[in-house]
């Protein structure tokens, strides 16, 4: 997980994540949401998530909505099958405001009226 964009909190989640790393991701997302900046979660290099990680993502999305903070996830062809599968099974891709590239995600998160 890293961050690299002024005025936007971009959290890049790479590799596998599950119950063992979900708490760390949750702290990162909480800190990002508290900054007040729009938040982007880049899942383009994520290979696997379990339901505890999905829960963290959904909560972040809801929290962003409540705070009227811009929020997007980037989810594309490079995102692992293990991520897609869980989102498809649970019908959650839509609820995560997913767009296919990091640039789209940043543009969507900073655009006014898209909080």
């Amino acid at each position: 997980m890293e961050q690299a964009e002024p005025g936007v909190e971009v959290i890049i989640v790479t590799g596998e994540h599950d119950i063992s790393t979900a708490p760390e991701l949750e702290r990162r997302l909480e800190a990002a949401l508290e900054s007040g900046h729009p938040v982007v979660i880049d899942l383009l290099g994520t290979t696997f998530i379990d339901s505890t990680v999905l829960r963290v993502l959904i909560c972040a999305r809801e929290e962003a909505g409540e705070r009227s903070v811009g929020f997007r996830c980037a989810l594309g062809e490079t995102t692992g099958h293990g991520v897609r599968r869980l989102l498809d099974l649970t019908g959650m891709a839509g609820r995560l405001q997913a767009v296919p590239t990091r640039a789209d995600a940043i543009a969507g998160a900073v655009a006014p009226g898209h909080a």
Binding site: E16, S20, R55, H81, G82, R85, L86, L89
Partner: protein
């Protein structure tokens, strides 16, 4: 996130493995990696491996999260790949037994995810204590 080698004993067999682990979150990825190794070595397609990894991760997460609310404990995972290309994974804990929780810290999709991915899911309480989750996966067929 430190490895806990002393907490586990691993026995490799030609077509499976058995792990005995402390019921701690850091051990969940270890199970997934052992499973992935077994299935990759057997030529199971990547997408099917990733589905199975999800179902087994959810079962292990439950053993870690729910089985021992007030104590520490162990859980065991056994995987057997039969020549007929059927994978049987058993996740066993010696905890509280299935205890429904209205206020679960989880998302509540673990059991249905397991049931959706596995070709059969069985849950019981052998010898009257803890939980055994047994999942059967057809690894020859499509990722369903």
């Amino acid at each position: 996130m430190t490895g806990r080698v002393s907490d586990r004993a691993m026995t490799s067999r030609s077509s499976g493995f058995e792990l005995e682990l402390a019921a701690e979150t850091d051990n969940v990825p270890l199970v997934r990696h052992a499973l992935r190794g077994l299935l990759e070595a057997s030529g199971v397609p990547e997408e099917r491996i990733s589905d199975i990894a999800l179902a087994v991760t959810e079962a292990c997460a439950n053993a870690v999260l729910h089985a021992y609310p007030r104590s520490r404990g162990q859980f065991e995972v056994a995987a057997d790949l039969t020549p007929g290309r059927e994978l049987v994974v058993r996740v066993r804990d010696h905890g509280s037994g299935m205890a429904p929780r209205v206020d679960s810290p989880g998302l509540g999709v673990g059991l249905p995810v397991m049931a959706a991915i596995a070709d059969a899911l069985e849950i019981d309480t052998p010898d009257g204590s803890g939980t055994l989750v047994r999942m059967t996966f057809d690894v020859a067929g499509p990722a369903s």
